[in-house]
Symmetry: D2
Subunit: 360 residues, 4 copies
Amino acid sequence: MNKEFKVGVLGATGTVGQRFILHLHNHPFFKLVALGASSRSAGQPYIKATRWKQSKPIPESVKDVIIKECTTENFKDCDIVFSGLDHDVAGPIESGLREAQVAVFSNAKNYRRDPLVPLVVPLINTDHYKIIPAQQEPLGLKKGYIVANANCSTTALVVPLAALEKSFGPLELVQATTLQAISGSGYPGLPSLDILDNVVPYIGSEEDKMEWETYKILGGINPDMKSFEYHQASPLKVSASCNRVPVIDGHMVCASVKFASPNKPTPEQVMEAFKNYKCDAQSVGAPSAPAQVITVHEEEDRPQPRLDRDHQNGAGVNVGRVREDSIFDIKFVVLANNVQIGAATSSVMNAEVAALQGYV
Amino acid sequence: MNKEFKVGVLGATGTVGQRFILHLHNHPFFKLVALGASSRSAGQPYIKATRWKQSKPIPESVKDVIIKECTTENFKDCDIVFSGLDHDVAGPIESGLREAQVAVFSNAKNYRRDPLVPLVVPLINTDHYKIIPAQQEPLGLKKGYIVANANCSTTALVVPLAALEKSFGPLELVQATTLQAISGSGYPGLPSLDILDNVVPYIGSEEDKMEWETYKILGGINPDMKSFEYHQASPLKVSASCNRVPVIDGHMVCASVKFASPNKPTPEQVMEAFKNYKCDAQSVGAPSAPAQVITVHEEEDRPQPRLDRDHQNGAGVNVGRVREDSIFDIKFVVLANNVQIGAATSSVMNAEVAALQGYV
Amino acid sequence: MNKEFKVGVLGATGTVGQRFILHLHNHPFFKLVALGASSRSAGQPYIKATRWKQSKPIPESVKDVIIKECTTENFKDCDIVFSGLDHDVAGPIESGLREAQVAVFSNAKNYRRDPLVPLVVPLINTDHYKIIPAQQEPLGLKKGYIVANANCSTTALVVPLAALEKSFGPLELVQATTLQAISGSGYPGLPSLDILDNVVPYIGSEEDKMEWETYKILGGINPDMKSFEYHQASPLKVSASCNRVPVIDGHMVCASVKFASPNKPTPEQVMEAFKNYKCDAQSVGAPSAPAQVITVHEEEDRPQPRLDRDHQNGAGVNVGRVREDSIFDIKFVVLANNVQIGAATSSVMNAEVAALQGYV
Amino acid sequence: MNKEFKVGVLGATGTVGQRFILHLHNHPFFKLVALGASSRSAGQPYIKATRWKQSKPIPESVKDVIIKECTTENFKDCDIVFSGLDHDVAGPIESGLREAQVAVFSNAKNYRRDPLVPLVVPLINTDHYKIIPAQQEPLGLKKGYIVANANCSTTALVVPLAALEKSFGPLELVQATTLQAISGSGYPGLPSLDILDNVVPYIGSEEDKMEWETYKILGGINPDMKSFEYHQASPLKVSASCNRVPVIDGHMVCASVKFASPNKPTPEQVMEAFKNYKCDAQSVGAPSAPAQVITVHEEEDRPQPRLDRDHQNGAGVNVGRVREDSIFDIKFVVLANNVQIGAATSSVMNAEVAALQGYV
């Protein structure tokens, strides 16, 4: 890639925004030119407006950048905008930028269910970008569009599911119980009194998201390239139970799957399929793509959030305990770094693939 | 009950032993007369030999009791012995006491799978005591026997299952994912470096125990009163996935169930069945029996370990989030206090029922 | 006490208010008659308006009580009002009730520094009630007044200091470093991302409070009974460093003290003085007074928050590791339950003493 | 440095040993050639013998290295040996290697108080190497010697003290209260039941180490180069109180200091002195030396273990909250990464300086 793209970050003072800044620092072809936040922060240098909560320090080049309000006018010169905005404000800001011909890669949930917006986990379905012309057409756009990335717990689950479907054909049943990190609720997020020495067996609308987003991500695009073919058209059923646990970063999912085909793979074959799984982000050379999409752990007690969440900078997922299930066919444990591949890394990798494929 | 029984505690310096001592203190008809521990502790006053780890203080009456070695000779004058011994030593000590005509109520796993030893959760299957004569007969015993209580995570799961089968007939499928407290691994148990800011998705042989013990507890006794009718003879299949989480006390289980009958209850009917469930420990007036076996929580985010584990001194179980499941019929969350109803309280309540029913 | 007092609770839906409710439930001579909260909650039954965060369930008798707004009119028929209000609203509400002849016992900080309001730790200085007539006089009151209790970390420190001064005369230097529980910051209070696997070495204005409040509490009243004689008139200097740690309840303080007298007590003498310390709340028979004000632990690693915070329902304090200090004279560790003796229990015990001494 | 040194690691399977391996991987002039552990592990490939507990994966080049028993014979061909051995076995193994002409850099406590062994924090007193000839002489050695690094909590405290003495002359009083991470107790170390939701106000012999080691490190060498001049010869008194808190890595110390000189620096001058402090490890170009020895934080709530322990790979220390003290002169908070500069990084940096100064 011998081109450089001007990129902006919306919601730059929030926790996802801080991850975007770290991730984009020294990026080979994305050049960070604008930071946006609320009107309360606008006009201040970044270091004054943010409560930096990362263990890596703020990049020097960012400290004194003056924060702008998140208006179309302020970001229309960007080629790409990454949005770490809260969903209660993200909608009109993101669509405004799209109309200003900007490619918007969003971590917010607002457009995930839009029938023309690709919901993309970069380790799986960047081929959904083929819907982009159909998204632009009714708006009379040549350049701008919105690409959403998935919810963090969906991301953890769906990557091994994609690998399984690629090797063994359609899944019929997926049961998933999550143990999710507190960073998934943002900052200030969960009060400490609610989670220390505790588990909260409920995360608002998370179970519905995991079920619904999986259908869209694992689905395809209809031949007219104008609509998605949701996976629930196939016999797939997903049932999710979501829990919050006192872990900083790293969502775990205990998953059980049943294949549609009567030819069931063995646990060994499943592990091989996981190890061999490749994605387009790797083949097009996206800088953020992990060398190994799915790392398979063979120790009986791995993966674990604290020990495995930072492998490959959290850009891949970890799987372990692959074994037979007495009700389903196979069960296993997945761990994904919810603040990396579950959030900022997904958006950036999505944009890298889009840029390398000529969508920007 | 106008009789008093002499009781002893084996493994009295361990964490389960400490719970036995607290539980038996001021008991209406069990009189604690002997404490046993390893030869290393024998001969010392209790307060010197134990590292007391309970938030309630050591009862004054126990502090200066001299610890005995766990020999048959030392405990043969007890009517009842409670065993909090580790499984690596429990076997011969417990069977020796049985042969000395002592009723042994054990928290160890050694005899749980014995075809003549009842595996009893006192909130469910104290009717399994009918096997006791068959256990005594080949040994030529009139009085002694062994009763085992279940593994702590099994206990959490199986109480609501029993309530469901009582109201709606046999279950066909049970999927259970646990989030288990660290106290389940005893003391010193899990190293802090393994669990702080972490989840361990593996507990040695726990998944197998949950599956197998459920078959025995939910099963019956054959008409000859000489053998158990294990529940897997019915179409029941249990699949368990076990995780350790950074919680002090209180095992949570996310459970999904499918009924054998085509007439499926609604979530509301399931909640009613849970609320109305009664057990023999209540009807015979066991002092440790909870007023309510299953407490149903209607808030969307309950039960939670820290807030709900101490209801009714941890003698019942808590259920919440009862809802439909897109793969199974119904899913819900259970919380049981693993160190109370999951351990010491079970043994004591089992013995109370046995005493009240004339088995001691 | 053969009289019954009508009491109300302000801020009844907050964490301190919930503790007041539990504490006043079944009280021998305080009868809870009114609950107050913000206008948002007013008019609702208590169980609907509160997010109950206690491990003991809501008393049945309280569930359906209709919450009132915290106006003078609504609470003027109470003999006593307990205030768990936030300091940003507590001021005028508390003074309004005082003028309506109500005795107000407040956990808020607003009047702690008022030169006519007693700042009372019930285990130490209920004799400061002698200032009450001087507080009432300029307002022309016969009955109403305000009594404040101390900040939770001050309370932990100052009880052993009072015991030391009583036995060995004035202190000259006190160095205190705290390790404070998260419940001290209320609810929602500290975000979980700030404290899990972390320490925060700063608590806003806490160090200043610990220093200043200690001077007032350990001081006396001038002979005219119209003003306090602050302790810093003596050579006492207090230096505090405050830290937040990932502990639910229980503030620890590592304290070092230097006596003014050249006759230094030994650690053994200090432990004796702690054990023998008595207070007026005990001698007048306050129902909430602990049997032992200061529990001295002789194990080298006690007290510990999780194991010792609930002794005597958290109504006393725990001291351990009493030893010589190479710079000061003596150092030791104190633990106090910040939500009991550090908050609600203090207010209630203060009111009990006031009632028993005829101030109500 | 255009020379390469053959280095070995003793105790290679332990937590400090694992850190040594990560630290020495790709080192510019230390080449790892031998790994030693107990006879139980000897003969096995490293990956089989170790339970790897680091979030960075095992270097590929190390996985299949066969572990040797820690005998003199097995390590005598190394130029340098790093010892992460437990103190109960370290003594004779380390002295045996010294006699075999090997330079031993030890994290164990065995020789720290030896009157001829330098106790070196590489950010402070590598000039103590001048004692090495006096250590070798009575043993008739030309090459081998032992250098110890300090206890992890001592290291945190003593770096800012050294900076203060360099700028403002001798200290008279140092009061230190620690909040120490669980990794300081090794693996398995502290049981999780002891520290979750808890503080343990005692760490065996830690307070004594902090006091005594500080005297040796801040002291000098007598003119004959044959003995140390301990700092307690000056009026310095250190008083330490040590606590364990539920934090993975990173020891915090709340320190108060009094200077001997009547000219007291202001907090601003102290911050300047911290910022400007340099050490020999920097000037000789030790690869592990941090760019900034002491990072001064100006936010009121920093440093914090989770956010600041990994700055500069944990090779420097962090200071914050520099302010006046009403009893001493100045108080502040220090944070040091106990597993990096408090352990393995210290040994490696000590060896780097020794190599660069010609001691190897």
